[in-house]
Symmetry: C2
Subunit: 206 residues, 2 copies
């Protein structure tokens, strides 16, 4: 957006910086900047400090690679978790989603990315070697690949599978992928055909 | 949104702080926080610093009340502006909109609010006394009330008009309101009826 000499520099800089947020364009950024300065300067200060604090304080868990403020994240540090099971997810938000389902009592490994040849992200960029090292540990008996069911997530799952096979780990550990099918509450009439086809192919015996 | 003990505190605090932005709910805030930490930590730092800098550096212009980093804003400091004309707007964004139209060469007065009885904002809360003091100055010959054409903006315009009348300023200065009518490029078929009725009542002689 054209800026006029009438806007103070600090306001222009703030508007520009707000555009770094995902989904925020020039108009929204300007509205946000004006709102904070006009109606919520203390909110702006809190947000500013939270951002600087988060960037400084948050690092990656030594074991599972998710965000944490300590050496180990709270899941890895929790002695009540089943340490023989490892769930591989793309991002900390995915970890959170699985946690919220209360269906997993094992540990995690967070890739912090997915394979995306179009963006030049291959197996090396998402540090699959770290995952292999983790899976190699005697402690781990089962690996659940829980990458997204998007083309990139599927490519990532496939790359992990090949890698575990090439290292001879596929035979030693129980490796699985999250089930695909009709979502809970789903009505067949409104479900996309690819999902229905998948659910038919992978039908479960009762 | 329910937070789980698995998210580090600094990340929760950031997500919570991002919700102070207008139009940002819990899901969007979480997505923004994750995005910044995962893909753009330098953006997060820049945004954090811009916020703190803006809050510290930006104040109100002594003359017109808009945002500025100096004693006087750049419009008020500009000797090329017509100092006899004063345009009254609700907010710095409105000032920017009028500036961008390149149709105004006078000065401004920014109310930094509007009358809104439902929110407990009356004439006192938006400092109309400062506006009256500004209009009283001999320098000012003409006042254009450019508050929005919303119920609150109209109530504000009405309050300003009454106040100027009660102070005897209405007769001394040329007081006007922005024209209402069909927008440029507007097709009658798609314009709301209130605007058409207004445009008919306020039709101009050719």
């Amino acid at each position: 957006m054209k800026t006029l000499p009438v806007t103070p520099h600090a306001l222009d800089a703030l508007t520009e910086a707000l555009r770094r947020l995902p989904g925020v364009g020039p108009k929204t950024a300007q509205r946000m900047a004006m709102h904070l300065l006009q109606h919520d300067p203390s909110g702006a200060e809190i947000l500013g400090q939270s951002l600087l604090h988060a960037v400084a304080a948050i690092r990656h868990c030594r074991e599972c690679n998710t965000f944490t403020e300590d050496e180990l994240c709270q899941v890895c540090a929790d002695q009540g978790r089943d340490r023989s099971q490892l769930c591989v997810v793309e991002s900390p938000s995915d970890l959170l989603a699985v946690e919220q389902s209360h269906a997993w009592r094992g540990l995690y490994f967070v890739l912090m990315g997915r394979i995306s040849p179009l963006d030049g992200i291959g197996p090396r960029e998402i540090h699959l070697d770290r995952l292999v090292a983790r899976v190699t540990s005697d402690e781990v008996k089962e690996v659940v690949i829980a990458t997204n069911f998007t083309p990139e997530g599927e490519a990532t799952a496939h790359a992990i599978e090949s890698l575990l096979k090439s290292k001879g780990l596929y035979e030693q550990k129980r490796v699985s992928r999250l089930a695909r099918g009709v979502p809970v509450g789903g009505e067949l009439e409104y479900i996309d055909l690819g999902t229905i086809a998948q659910a038919v192919r992978e039908r479960r015996k009762l």
